[in-house]
């Protein structure tokens, strides 16, 4: 008989789905990577096994309809490629240097144009509202991007706690600054403490995340422990890390990078492929882990949720 009746294949012989689905990409990437090696380039596809997470697991985290289904970056990428200038200006420095930051005890001062100003401890923050996992695209002004499963809840939940007065038009976010814990900061060339800000309606948009964790755990120091902002439709520098003060106010806050170079970093800093940074294009971005650049999306792909905040505004002027 020509046909063998029983080839004795078991489930284990089936090619795993992720391999056959990605086989072309795998061939392409390894082919290109092999070529890249000729000029000293990388076999980064042969990544080392992922490192163990160091954080504390966060329990009872809900899924969110705001999450993207795009492939997430590895924990290793997101924790070893950071802009956190207080701990050094190289991308790999925060992972090495940020262990000096003491995040316990921690409290955030909520103040300014609010009916109930107060301090809130990190324990209270963790219990204020149900934690959600939000898998967001994150686009840096330097034209790279990542997809991160953040954990937190909408900033509006925090705002409701202190009840902003009708005078509150903006919110200023201030990061921790302690030269003793951050000896590298003096070489950064920017002023500290780091301050960022949003218009109140931007801050109250449900996408605006008050973030306490990622990848199922609390935040590692280099990613902004113990609590940070995540504003997914704006360039990454808008999402201030390691918050110590949140101030509701009448005037637009003077924000760090905007004060450094107003022609390069606007107050709004919405992701916009049609408005270039004066020194480089914003039309494309490199998703970490990918070889080819991809097109940058208007409002980083969140136009449906946020475009209405800017109707009538000239986004070339208010970049």
């Amino acid at each position: 008989m020509l046909f063998r009746r029983n080839p004795q294949l078991t489930h284990a012989d089936v090619t795993p789905k992720h391999l056959y689905v990605n086989r072309r990409k795998f061939l392409k990437d390894t082919g290109l990577a092999g070529a890249a090696l000729l000029v000293g380039g990388g076999l980064w596809e042969l990544a080392a096994p992922p490192k163990a997470h160091a954080g504390t697991k966060l329990n009872g985290v809900l899924k969110s309809p705001f999450s993207t289904t795009e492939k997430q970056n590895t924990y290793d990428d997101v924790t070893h490629y950071n802009n956190y200038y207080e701990f050094g200006v190289d991308k790999t420095e925060p992972a090495r240097n940020s262990h000096t930051l003491k995040t316990d005890p921690w409290s955030v001062s909520l103040e300014g144009e609010v009916k109930k100003p107060r301090q809130i401890t990190i324990d209270e923050i963790l219990k204020l509202a149900p934690l959600e996992e939000r898998i967001y695209r994150h686009r840096c002004v330097e034209a790279w991007s990542i997809v991160v499963p953040w954990i937190g809840y909408s900033f509006s939940a925090l705002a409701k706690l202190v009840e902003p007065t009708p005078q509150a038009k903006y919110v200023a976010f201030q990061s921790v600054y302690d030269p003793k814990q951050m000896p590298e900061a003096r070489y950064a060339g920017i002023e500290f403490p780091y301050v960022e800000g949003l218009r109140l309606d931007e801050a109250m948009n449900p996408l605006t995340l008050f973030c306490v964790g990622m990848y199922g755990e609390n935040l590692p120091n280099q990613d902004g422990a113990p609590v940070r902002m995540v504003i997914p439709w704006k360039y990454g520098f808008k999402s201030a890390k390691s918050l110590v003060k949140i101030r509701f106010q009448k005037e637009q806050p003077a924000t760090t990078w905007n004060r450094m170079a107003a022609n390069e970093y606007g107050f709004y800093a919405n992701v916009n492929p049609t408005v270039d940074h004066p020194r480089w294009s914003q039309a494309k971005e490199r998703r970490l882990g990918e070889f080819f650049k991809r097109n940058t999306l208007m409002f980083n792909g969140y136009a449906d949720q946020v475009a209405s905040l800017y109707t009538g505004m000239d986004l070339k002027k208010f970049y």
Binding site: L37, G40, G41, V78, H80, Y81, E142, W144
Partner: protein, 208 residues
């Protein structure tokens, strides 16, 4: 000391040493050390080493006049290594970043001043690399050859500006390179207008 510079092994050792930065990149590539953004890392590393080799090449002339004339033996090789790392830097940009999209490249060079000046710094090195052989020195004549090779001053200054225009805020690094280039060029000016004392000149001349 002199003997070390004259030894036939010196060149070989320096040659191997000059390849170490490339070797280190290769090592990083095989050990997952190129960060999450390998193309950026390779671009920055090769760029850094291009500038460093330009500075090392420029430091040879003062050193050989002050320290040991034999150092001249190393100058061409060091200059060629600056060009070598410059080629890798440019290749990373045109291949890994732009994927040989020449239209994109020209747009970049036209639109982005830091690319314009970086491209200038690189292209200026090409004729210097080509004419680095003894045959070319004879062909051009020493004087003309020397004038041509002063283009390295412009290339080094342009390289520093390229770096300065690239960084977001940490200007201390490009400024450090700039300061070193400044000192090296000022030394040349001083050397030209205030020649060293007769005793020193005589001492230099009396050497083999």
């Amino acid at each position: 000391m002199r003997k070390i510079f004259l030894s036939k092994w010196t060149k070989a050792v320096v040659f191997v040493a000059c390849l170490l930065p490339l070797g280190s990149l290769g090592w990083d590539a095989l050990h997952n050390g190129l960060t999450a953004n390998p193309i950026e890392y390779i671009t920055h590393t090769t760029g850094d080493w291009t500038l460093r080799f330009l500075l090392i090449t420029l430091v040879i002339t003062p050193l050989r006049k002050i320290l040991a004339p034999e150092l001249i033996r190393l100058r061409r090789m060091l200059g060629l290594f600056a060009f070598f790392y410059g080629c890798l830097h440019f290749l990373t940009y045109i291949w890994l970043d732009k994927f040989f999209d020449l239209a994109e490249m020209w747009k970049d060079i036209y639109k982005r001043p830091y690319i314009t000046i970086g491209f200038l710094a690189f292209t200026l090195l090409i004729p210097l690399a080509i004419t680095s052989s003894a045959g070319w020195i004879r062909l051009l004549g020493g004087r003309r050859w020397q004038i041509l090779h002063r283009a390295i001053y412009i290339s080094a200054v342009a390289g520093v500006i390229h770096y300065y225009w690239l960084v977001k805020s940490a200007v201390i690094r490009p400024l450090t390179y700039g300061a070193i280039v400044g000192v090296l060029l000022l030394w040349r000016l001083a050397d030209r207008f205030w020649p060293r004392s007769g005793a020193m000149q005589a001492a230099l001349k009396s050497q083999p």
